[in-house]
């Protein structure tokens, strides 16, 4: 869709009032390739301009499971926000299925680190929330919500209130709420980071099963190499400050993968190796900049 010819004020109004895609799930779920082309993102930080992402290009094929791994502050969450349309790139372009990404839309649902369920709705209404927005009739949306609650193993909990659920159950509901919209890309921003190890392991395997069943395109941000090894077809390792993709690791272990098999450990070690060199480098860099700052503030001249 060309935006040419639409006056800027009208376009701004449209952007404010309409989400990018209001189409019903069935109409927008056609497979689409996600293209990130030389995207740079800078922020105004306390110490001036911070480059969170520097000339990053990624292509995600339909049905792929891609993990973004990197030290904290490497811009992996920033990239996810750009894909979601919650933020705009400083340079470069993001496209989904040949259409530029300009603002949030239900074809790119994000699952955040916290479940962000709405406490004033029960579980079923939480799952059906996005369907309500698209104007689907009640009977139909409840049927779909129940179907996806079944998929995440919470079939009988439609009537429960959010505060009655445990952390793991909330995570499942959040997953169902995202999947029910049948997005072209599911974006996950460390969705299990706040859970205890046991619950996290169980949900990892659940997510793998659900991905095998639904064939969704998933972009998954994590700093946990084991998570990446179990889930991903392809792992992109980020370097920090400025955020760049420094390595791409293909994981060809057949599915369903197990958490503690030798191949899994080997894959995790491969990711770790890339990551650790990166972490060390960034620590060294940090020390170097800290020293430089020290000199700058205390004045090199005074010591000479």
């Amino acid at each position: 869709m060309s935006t040419l010819g639409i006056p800027a004020p009208v376009r701004r109004w449209r952007d404010a009032v309409l989400p990018q895609s209001r189409a019903l799930p069935a109409e927008r779920s056609a497979p689409a390739t996600l293209r990130v082309r030389s995207v740079t993102k800078t922020f105004h930080g306390a110490g001036g301009l911070v480059t969170a992402l520097d000339d990053v290009s990624v292509e995600v094929q339909p049905g792929e499971f891609v993990c973004l791994v990197g030290p904290s502050g490497c811009g992996k969450s920033t990239l996810l926000n750009l894909i979601a349309g919650l933020d705009h790139p400083s340079q470069g372009q993001l496209m989904l299925g040949g259409q530029a990404i300009e603002r949030p839309g239900a074809d790119r649902v994000v699952m955040f680190q916290e479940p962000a369920l709405f406490p004033w709705l029960n579980v079923r209404d939480n799952v059906a929330f996005g369907l309500t927005l698209s104007g689907m009739r009640r009977a139909q949306r409840y049927a779909r919500a129940e179907q996806y609650l079944e998929l995440v193993g919470l079939g009988q909990f439609g009537r429960a209130w959010v505060h009655e659920l445990s952390g793991g159950m909330k995570g499942r509901v959040a997953l169902a709420r995202a999947l029910v919209l049948d997005p072209r890309v599911l974006l996950m921003d460390e969705p299990f980071a706040a859970l205890d190890a046991q619950t996290r392991d169980r949900l990892l395997l659940e997510l793998q099963r659900i991905w095998l069943e639904t064939g969704k395109t998933i972009v998954f941000v994590t700093h946990n190499v084991r998570e990446a090894a179990v889930l991903a077809n392809r792992v992109l390792v980020f370097s920090a400050r400025p955020g760049r993709i420094k390595a791409e690791i293909h994981i060809d272990v057949p599915r369903p993968r197990e958490l503690k098999s030798p191949e899994m450990l080997a894959a995790a070690n491969r990711i770790s190796a890339e990551l650790e060199s990166e972490v060390t480098i960034s620590e060294e860099q940090e020390m170097a900049t800290a020293t430089a700052r020290n000199f700058a503030s205390h004045g090199l001249l005074w010591r000479l």
Binding site: A16, V17, L18, P19, Q20, S21, R22, A84, G85, L86, P104, G105, A106, R108, V109, V110, F112, E114, A116, F118, P119, W120, F129, G130, T132, L133, S134, G153, G155, Q156, F157, A160, W161, V162, H163, E164, L165, S166, M169, R177, L181, L187
Partner: protein, 276 residues
Amino acid sequence: MVVALKRIAFYVGLVAIWQALYASGRWSPMLFPSPGDVWSALLDGFRQGTFPTAIKASLQRVVIGFIISFFLGVLMGTAMARWKSVQETLGSLVLGMQSLPSICWAPLALMWFGLQDTAILLVVVLGSTFSVTEATYAGFRNVPPLYRRAAMVMGATQMQLLRRVLIPAALPSIVTGLKLSWSFAWRSLMAGELIASLGGFGQLLQNFRETFDMPSVVAVMVVIVAIGLLVNAVVFRPLEKSIQRRWGITTDDRQSDYRKSRRPAASIQRQLDIAQ
């Protein structure tokens, strides 16, 4: 139930001290009535119909005033939450007005509208509107930003965001604020009625003072307090409670409830165990 017993014991003790002070004879019974005198004045007031008439007049005014305050306050509070420059400008005025006792408007109100209900209404509205405004603003401001982002990535428009996320998310704190605003409205009304003789409890107090009927003065005060508590107990507390229960916020003094709310309810946990 223990709470109720404690409360009864407390009030019985209070009345006993009052009676003892009265019996000590330090003050003239004309100025310091006994609990018994007040009680019979209370009964007289209801029997003769002066109290019911006053209740009707006062409640009518406070309800109208409070409804106006509600709409004005919600409107201003929403505007303050939505536009930063409204908050920066109107916000300071709202804060300032809250430190002005609304009865200070009575001289102006009486000059503008004369001895009419409108004058009292103005005092009531100015007494509670700013409190509603603050509550609404705080309610919207305290909505977790994550809720907004979650709704946006699911494709919410700005209107849907307001209707389906921001308003429900702000509701608990708005209702809690309304409770406070109600008591402001009620207090402003009493002050207004004391000054403008247009019926209602405020004027009743004035009349009894003029006829030197102290038991009745105290009886009226008791009724004013009772109505304040009653409206709170019948309207606002149930509203607040039902919202908090749904949200899973338990501000109860029973701690066990709070602990339970953090874990899945026992019945649900059992179902989950069976399911897996």
